[in-house]
Amino acid sequence: MTDKAVSPWRNLWVRFREDRIALAALVVVGIILLLALFAPFIAPQDPYDLSGLSLRDARRPPGWVGSGGYVHWLGTDAQGRDLLSAILYGLGVSIQIGIFAGAVGLVIGTTIGILAAYHRGWFETVLMRIIDLQLSFPPILLALVLVAALGQGKAQLIAALVAAQYAYFARTAFGAASAERSKDYIEAARATPLSNTRIVFRHILPNAMPALIVVATVQVAYAIALESTLSFLGLGLPVTEPSLGMLISNGVKYMMSGRYWISVYPGIALIILIVAINLVGDHVRDILNPRLNR
């Protein structure tokens, strides 16, 4: 079983395909990515171009034909923005932040985790103690305080998200790497003049990768949710480039008066995105769990 048998990635894909829900979720994620990527070509309106907005179109219900001469299928927001366009652009902003935060967290966390696993002794102890301490602290608080400290902006927000999340990657990488490290062949490889980098990149990293991928999917989804939460609390991005969270937040005050669509549609988009990513991650985790594969 533990032989280097057929490519593990192929095997993963074969087993992934079997679950229809997960496969559908993957397709949904793909479609959303395409929609976000091509938003400028699909969206009927450029929501960032304030000169193209008319207040006469503000807070109109879905199906309203605006002054632009086209139908606002999902209605308009308080500035008279076409909500469909705003959502398509907002998806892009949310995804960008999620992926950036996930990727940077992955690199930093993995580096720390592998370093700790590779250099045993006090270095490992101190590093992992810090990581554990941080893991027990709720990420949302950390992100809140950091956003307040760093100020508003995309880079600052990503930095706050990374700081709140990197520890999960570090824990996972550390676990996988130290399990791998104690195996005989790594001991043997260390005794030969093979460079450490080679051992890490050829042996340790590939073995830690599947678990890290699962954490990465979950963390991207979490980063998107966290960003929208921060934006909702008024601590996220500047208003000029509204993410989904910001769109929702902007609509809240009109919700009580029955103009639900301003908040609800961006919210639905957000949920579909996060649920789809989590479904994919969840199924991959099930496949990779060796304890259920007897």
């Binding site: 301490l133 027990s136 602290f137 709720p138 949302i140 608080l141 809140l144 305080v145 307040a148 400290a149 989804a221 949710a225 929208s228 939460t229 909702f232 609390l233 008024g234 601590l235 969270g245 929702i248 809240v252 919700m255 009580m256 029955g258 639900y260 908040s263 609800v264 919210g267 957000l270 949920i271 996060i274 649920v275 990513i277 989590n278 479904l279 969840d282 304890r291 259920l292 007897r294």
Partner: protein, 324 residues
């Protein structure tokens, strides 16, 4: 056992000391409190007096030790915004938060664990799949969004429940409680559900994963071979075996729910500490931020300690041995 506890207690003190330094230095880096404290039209004289009153003329290290020595005396300083002692500011709001958090986490556990056990017992059945789908939803959908939908549905559309506030409270042991009045409950229900949903998802997953593993174990096979009914196996063997990770997570979640209450309290205008901390972050009210963060860290350490004790009580293998 007692030496083990002592060791953990010591660890907690060290962690708290470290946290206080980090939090203090971290919050110190945020903005310039003078902009908050002193109106631009104030005279030089007023400026200097205010600076001196809040000890802002001293160095960071001096301020820190002043803060610590005051802290040990039970004084957490004055809020910049409310001009009130931070301790009473937080103390007045903490019961509301604790009430909300405890209701949410207890509810999530009492409902989530049985659902999770069932889903783990029959992992391929329809009900199990439905439970898992709901749990993924609870796991994925941001708390603030669920809160909005709850308000939209139950307060705005149906008009069944109030959309915010704490309702009538009754004093018990010197603290005001909403759980003791019907009206209080009607106010508590929505925010508690809102806060509980994410925890419910976690509990379901945890119980399901644990049950799936235990069901495959020889312990269960042996119990079945002895003729135990499935109900007895689940309620006596499985529940006891999976209770250890569940208690751990219960503790951790209790602590992190305190943090998450920030969002729910904002949406439902629940007069707890969460709302206070958001306002203090927005207004750069340093003393409140520092006190809140240190308090949260303190709660974390305490809860972790309790979890360790519960661990030792639940797992007989640890009662001795772990003492070292």
């Amino acid at each position: 056992m007692s030496s083990f506890l002592l060791k953990r207690l010591l660890q907690g003190v060290v962690i708290m000391a470290a946290m206080s330094v980090i939090v203090f230095a971290g919050v110190y880096a945020i903005g310039n409190p003078l902009d908050v404290l002193i109106p631009p039209e104030a005279t030089q004289d007023v400026r200097e007096r205010t600076i001196a009153r809040f000890g802002l003329d001293k160095s960071l290290v001096e301020q820190y030790f002043l803060f610590i020595s005051n802290l040990l005396k039970g004084d957490l300083g004055l809020s910049y915004i409310y001009n009130e002692p931070v301790l009473s500011l937080i103390g007045n709001r903490l019961p509301a938060t604790l009430e909300l958090v405890l209701t949410a986490v207890l509810g999530a556990t009492l409902i989530g664990v049985p659902l999770g056990i069932y889903a783990g017992y029959k992992p391929h059945g329809f009900a199990a799949r439905a439970i898992m789908a709901i749990s993924i939803l609870g796991f994925s959908v941001p708390t603030f969004w669920v809160g909005l939908i709850l308000i939209l549905t139950f307060a705005v559309s149906l008009g069944w429940l109030p959309s915010g506030g704490r309702g009538e409270t009754v004093e018990f042991l010197g603290i005001e409680w909403s759980v003791l009045t019907l009206n209080g409950w009607s106010h508590l229900v929505l925010p508690a559900i809102n806060l509980a949903l994410f925890k419910l998802a976690i509990m379901v997953r945890l119980a399901r994963a644990g049950t799936r593993e235990v069901m495959l174990s020889d312990t269960v096979k042996f119990a079945r071979a002895a003729g135990l009914s499935e109900m007895t196996i689940l309620s006596r063997h499985v529940l006891k075996l999976i209770s250890i990770p569940i208690v751990t997570v219960f503790g951790l979640e209790l602590a992190s729910t305190l943090a998450f209450a920030v969002v729910t309290e904002t949406i439902f205008s629940w007069p707890g500490v969460g709302k206070l901390i958001i306002d203090s972050i927005k207004n750069l009210d340093r003393p409140v931020m520092v006190a809140y963060l240190i308090l949260t860290a303190g709660l974390f350490v305490t809860i972790n300690l309790c979890v360790d004790i519960a661990y030792a009580l639940l797992d007989p293998r640890l009662r001795r041995g772990r003492a070292e």
